[in-house]
Assembly symmetry: C2
Homo-oligomer: 340 residues x 2
DNA sequence: GTACTGTTTGGAAGCGCTTGCAGTTGTGAG
DNA sequence: CTCACAACTGCAAGCGCTTCCAAACAGTAC
């Protein structure tokens, strides 16, 4: 294998100068830089990643820990982070911890500790005291997206406020009989999110003197499939039917719409539905939603981390609130007068 | 930072023995192994990834190159590969090349060449002569999933056969007026797949003496949204309407179903729809499909690679055909007699 | 011309492990 | 009791870079 020595020889420079020329750091005269580059190109030489990392202590690699790769929010975050990292010359190591507790354990107790990454992004993960300690011990910047991460920086949206905003959108249209599709806490790794959104819903309802009916609180696992099943219960069983549903995620809103169609309910005439996310399918489904720009959150997390890495300063834990935007489409409307 | 030396000191063993004990390679007496482990645990020591990699030449890291992270097939492959790698103690570095040709270029000309990975998996990617050369030059096993990859091993399904199977399922039910939703070649990184499936469709139609009508060949970009738009054209415009649609992917089949509903068409009474994939949403939508077990393909790719890595032998290019399975749900049925 | 500052350079010491080699010990066979 | 052989262990030489340091070299101001 050709090494940096070969490049040095071929270019008539020292190994040290070639290293500086190729990495772009340190002072190198333009002429030497060019000679080094040329020699490297001729030899098809590329710096060895591990040797560089070992010598410099920088890995140019960021770990991204997600609970799953299927749910829309996660894949959007991955996409945003991936693009930002690629542009910056960083690798993205994906840790998809999934359902298997064994996997989760090995990720936190083994993989992340081996100093392979310069920083880690944890998405919608509530870490145990222990896991957090482990991570902080390796002394790498951490940022959390969408999950509470005491001791680390987080990027979050104001879940309570947007839940209120979504609910108020329905109330503003004249709805009073509003159901809520919330997340099953056990199914989510971020235990606080469903509760916070639900709290926002209830606050908005109370503020508007609308009754929150327990039988109109359905819960599902944040997937289209799960919400579909839950919505069939909600819409099929009850003696009285709500005129609107606020779902805690777009995927659950979509599941609700699919279930409503099965019952012959027209959207929005018979049922208004609003979600939260900004899911790609929203456009096709005509879904009114609160767009939280998940891609942007991923990219922002990367910018935050790289800033910290490059400034060498420890990332001071800080919460950044990411902006959201109400997008009104055709799934919400004034309730039919006979139903209101 | 505590290093292996500290562990050696604390355990009273030499650095070499500790290394062997911790990595599990070489002969170490059970007693020493235990002492080394204990000392490491007490110190909270974990081997440095880069130092190990540099010294041993093994990275314990596999690169996964995907065109996108959003389409169902890719995320399923990622999930399958991720779980398999995690269990084996390997990292997964994700290269999501997306739409940006600049990203694609840097992945192939920079990232993958820096010897950071022991092997690479390329999903649905047709590589240029050049890119292939680059990859082969770093001398790492490569396996391709779903894309033609001359010179590397591939895992593939028999696209022509399953397209025929899907079409024959419709024909068997009595349909003769069958439309096909194919992929836009330009939108896919794997240029052969849409054509192959379409070819299978046409062959089955011809074999059954059914006419393939050009106006009943619609094309979309493999997404639900794209297929939705294309299906609106297909189902809304033509003077005569097909009684069944074979879509080249489940996402496009779902888009077709959504569009059909907009026109008040009932599934399957007015329109039968069949797809290919095994998409999670299939169950909710009642979609008949040919399940290609994408997760399994990802896991198989990993097994293939790890086998090659551990045997030290070069991966002899070989194509493995992955099994598929027709899953009949409620989106296909005998055509209405007045429409047939 | 000298003294001084700032830029380029090369030498060489690591970064923290793995592993070939040789030495040590323990075992069973002869 | 000796010898051959296997199982263990430690030494030390790397793996292929980065970067500290000091030396060499301008360039400027006096």
């Amino acid at each position: 294998m050709t090494g940096i020595k070969d490049v040095a020889e071929r270019s008539g420079l020292s190994v040290a100068t070639v290293s500086r020329a190729l990495s772009g750091k340190g002072n190198v005269s333009p002429a030497s830089r060019e000679r080094a580059r040329a020699a490297a190109a001729e030899l098809g030489f590329v710096l060895s990643y591990h040797a560089s990392s070992l010598a410099s202590g920088r890995t140019h690699n960021v770990g991204l820990v997600v609970p799953s790769v299927h749910r829309w929010f996660y894949s959007a975050v991955i996409e945003g982070a991936s693009a930002a990292l690629l542009s910056a010359g960083y690798d993205l190591t994906l840790y998809n911890i999934g359902e298997d507790p064994q996997h989760r354990h090995s990720v936190f107790n083994d993989f992340l500790l081996r100093k392979r990454v310069d920083a880690v992004i944890a998405v919608s993960l509530e870490l145990s005291e222990d896991e957090m300690q482990q991570l902080l011990a390796v002394h790498r910047p951490i940022v959390g997206i969408g999950g509470p991460l005491p001791g680390a920086s987080t990027i979050r949206i104001d879940d309570s406020a947007i839940a209120q905003q979504a609910t108020n959108h329905l109330i503003g249209l004249g709805h009073t009989k509003i159901a809520h599709m919330t997340g099953e806490e056990a199914y989510d790794q971020d235990f606080q999110l469903p509760g916070t959104r639900r709290g926002g819903f209830e606050k908005a309802m109370n503020d508007a003197d609308c009754q929150v009916r327990p039988e109109w609180i359905a819960s599902a696992d944040f997937t289209i499939e799960g919400a579909y099943a839950a919505a069939r219960q909600l819409l099929g069983g009850a003696p009285e039917r709500p005129t609107a549903v606020f779902a805690a995620s777009d995927e659950m809103a979509i599941g609700t719409i699919l279930a409503a169609r099965d019952f012959g309910l027209r959207i929005p005439e018979d049922l208004s539905v609003i979600g939260i996310d900004g899911h790609d399918l929203g456009k096709v489904m005509g879904l009114t939603t609160i767009d939280q720009d998940a891609k942007g959150q991923g990219a922002l997390a990367v910018r935050t981390l790289l800033g910290a890495i490059n400034n060498g300063l420890d990332l001071v834990p800080a919460d950044t609130e990411h902006p959201t935007k109400l997008v009104v489409r055709s799934s919400t409307a004034v309730p039919r007068s006979d139903a209101a």
